[in-house]
């Protein structure tokens, strides 16, 4: 239990540092929030009043205090571009992105685990060369290029799937999945390539170990060795590596959601950055970093829970 407590305490410290980094990065912005709200035509006195009421004349440390206490008490402010409360806006976009992050992870793992294992058990033979070369090629293509190829193939040429837009899963689940499919595939293919490489090297490491040789020596069938001894031991590390890719996915969705006009968290971040919507930028990057950190924590804790050999603290 001590281990979990320790991790939670260090999580709070990291969260605090994340908030400072977020605030620091957005405060080197030359933009003026008051000017953005009032427009360039407003008179100087009203502008000065606005600055005063927004607290822009306070020292940075006081401004940080205002911001972080607002974030902690649920007063996330109003987006300058969308003229809407940031809290509900983020919740809605997070759900939309959650769908494609989950789907792409599912696509990636479904392909990567069999391919990686297949390559590992045929190490240095043509199966390994084929799978590893394909994976190497996969990690070298930018994901938005995957996106464009998929749009050309499945939307323009074959006309099977929509290439743009977002449908709320609450109102039309089938439509939601159809619209999320191509962006998820574009994200999933690159991730699949990366995870295939990881699965292969994990599996190669395991198949070289003593207990595998023992299992062979006592005459177990190769199939049983691979499944019950090899894969059972590889699945933990592979899941951990997959969990760590959540951060990568939350970076990639910015490009992919913009390409597919999928109005999720990535699309929102991009709009906020383009329009220099400072309150929205602060909230989005803080929330994304917090989500990434929390997922990593959950993956770590799950690993301890699942693997009986790890008993920490």
């Amino acid at each position: 239990m001590n281990y979990v407590l320790n991790r939670l305490l260090s999580m709070l410290l990291t969260l605090f540092l994340i908030s400072i980094i977020t605030f620091a990065v957005t405060n080197i912005l030359p933009g003026d929030v008051a000017l953005m709200i009032m427009g360039t035509q407003s008179n100087p006195e009203a502008l000065a009043g606005m600055r005063q009421s927004l607290g822009l004349n306070d020292p940075l440390i006081v401004q940080y205090g205002h911001w972080i206490s607002g974030m902690l008490t649920g007063h996330w402010g109003t987006s300058l571009v969308f003229k809407a409360a940031i809290g509900p806006l983020l919740l809605q976009k997070m759900t939309a992105s959650g769908l494609i992050v989950l789907m792409s992870m599912l696509i990636a793992l479904t392909g990567a685990v069999p391919l990686g294992v297949w390559a590992a058990i045929h190490r240095d033979r043509w199966q390994d060369t084929a799978s590893s070369s394909a994976a190497l090629f996969g990690v070298s293509l930018p994901d938005f290029f995957w996106g464009i190829v998929l749009i050309l193939l499945f939307a323009r040429t074959l006309g099977w799937l929509p290439s743009s837009g977002f449908v709320d899963p609450g109102t039309d689940l089938g439509g939601a999945i159809a619209h999320a499919f191509l962006p998820s595939l574009a994200l999933g293919l690159g991730l699949m390539a990366h995870l295939t490489r990881m699965t292969r090297s994990t599996m190669v490491g395991i198949m070289e170990q003593e207990f595998i040789r023992v299992a062979r020596a006592k005459g177990l069938r190769e199939r049983a060795i691979i499944w019950r001894y090899g894969l059972a031991n590889a699945i933990g590390p592979v899941m951990t590596i997959a969990g760590l890719q959540i951060g990568y996915l939350f970076g990639s969705i910015i490009v992919i959601e913009s390409l597919f006009n999928y109005t999720g968290m990535g699309w929102l971040t991009y709009q906020a950055l383009l329009n220099r919507d400072i309150p929205l930028i602060q909230a989005t990057i803080f929330v994304i970093a917090a989500v990434v950190m929390l997922t990593n924590l959950v993956v770590d804790l799950l690993y301890v829970l699942v693997d009986p050999r790890i008993r920490l603290g």
């Binding site: 410290l13 990291t14 540092l17 994340i18 400072i20 980094i21 990065v25 957005t26 080197i28 912005l29 030359p30 190497l136 090629f137 990690v139 070298s140 293509l141 930018p142 938005f144 290029f145 464009i148 190829v149 749009i151 050309l152 323009r156 090297s201 190669v204 490491g205 951060g247 990568y248 996915l249 939350f250 970076g251 990639s252 910015i254 490009v255 913009s258 390409l259 971040t269 991009y270 950055l273 383009l274 220099r276 930028i281 990057i285 994304i288 970093a289 917090a290 990434v292 950190m293 990593n296």
Partner: protein
């Protein structure tokens, strides 16, 4: 060098060499003005004898544009990775070698930075500073620094515990000398391997940033910008997307293969 004589090593070497040669010599080889000259009468022409890779939406020759894109891409990637090594190498070495509270403080900050997806951090910094060539380098350089610092710290920690370091300390080597003469040469292999792989990621990041309009700005020729511009013409001229896309893919593939082989040679513990 013999290990490069695998097919992977050879292909990687050729691709990287080709990309570097094109990046250096393209501006000298291309007839002056041909890459920027617009021919509205020859917009979106498919590949032909006159334009072997076709033309873009302004009638510019894609073969020349894509060659100039190599220069932008490599210039940004090399400078950005150079910058993150310049910051990450001393930070990682100091954290790993001294350990204790210094290591704790530095690695806490690095952990917090790692919670921000690299592309998100780079995009934000670029948007905040105002997108141009120099700020794209700074954005990617800063975003990659925590990764490098983490890896170099791990290496420095390992090296600092080796017997020869203890022996050097017993012989009266001071900390500065120890860091420069003993730790630095031993963390260099991992730094070179990680740097090469980071180059591949930096090229992808530059393409992504430029694709979103928050990286290289026109009229500079950049692969990400070319793919962005092609989006409106996908139906009639898919090659305007496929040409720069393939250029990115081949260059990144080259650096990845090169990095893999380098790792096999320099870092035999990794698989």
């Amino acid at each position: 060098m013999r290990r490069f004589r695998t097919s992977k090593g050879m292909i990687g070497l050729i691709l990287v060499g080709l990309a570097i040669l094109i990046a250096i010599f393209a501006p000298m080889l291309i007839p002056a003005g041909l890459s920027t000259k617009m021919h509205m009468a020859e917009r979106l022409h498919p590949p032909s004898l006159k334009h072997i890779l076709g033309t873009d939406e302004l009638g510019r020759d894609l073969f020349y544009r894509v060659m100039l894109g190599a220069r932008t891409s490599l210039e940004i990637a090399v400078s950005a990775v150079g910058m993150s090594i310049l910051i990450g190498l001393p930070l990682g070495m100091i954290a790993g070698y001294f350990g204790g509270w210094l290591d704790n403080v530095l690695m806490r900050i690095v952990d917090a930075l790692l919670a921000f997806p690299a592309l998100l951090l780079a995009l934000t910094i670029s948007a905040v500073l105002g997108p141009n060539l120099r700020n794209t380098i700074i954005a990617i350089g800063v975003a990659f620094t925590p990764y490098l610092a983490r890896i170099i710290r791990g290496e420095a920690l390992r090296v600092a515990q080796l017997p020869f370091v203890e022996a050097a300390r017993a012989a009266g080597t001071n900390n500065l000398n120890m860091l420069i003469r003993h730790i630095l040469p031993n963390v260099m292999p991992a730094t070179i391997v990680q740097g090469t792989i980071s180059l591949a990621f930096a090229i992808l990041a530059e393409a992504g940033l430029s694709f979103l309009g928050l990286g290289t700005q026109p009229p500079q020729s950049s692969w990400g910008l070319m793919i962005q511009a092609s989006r409106n013409y996908l139906d009639i001229s898919a090659w305007t997307a496929l040409v720069p896309g393939t250029a990115v893919a081949l260059t990144v593939l080259g650096f990845n293969m090169f990095g893999d082989v380098l790792r096999d040679i320099l870092d035999p513990r990794a698989k």
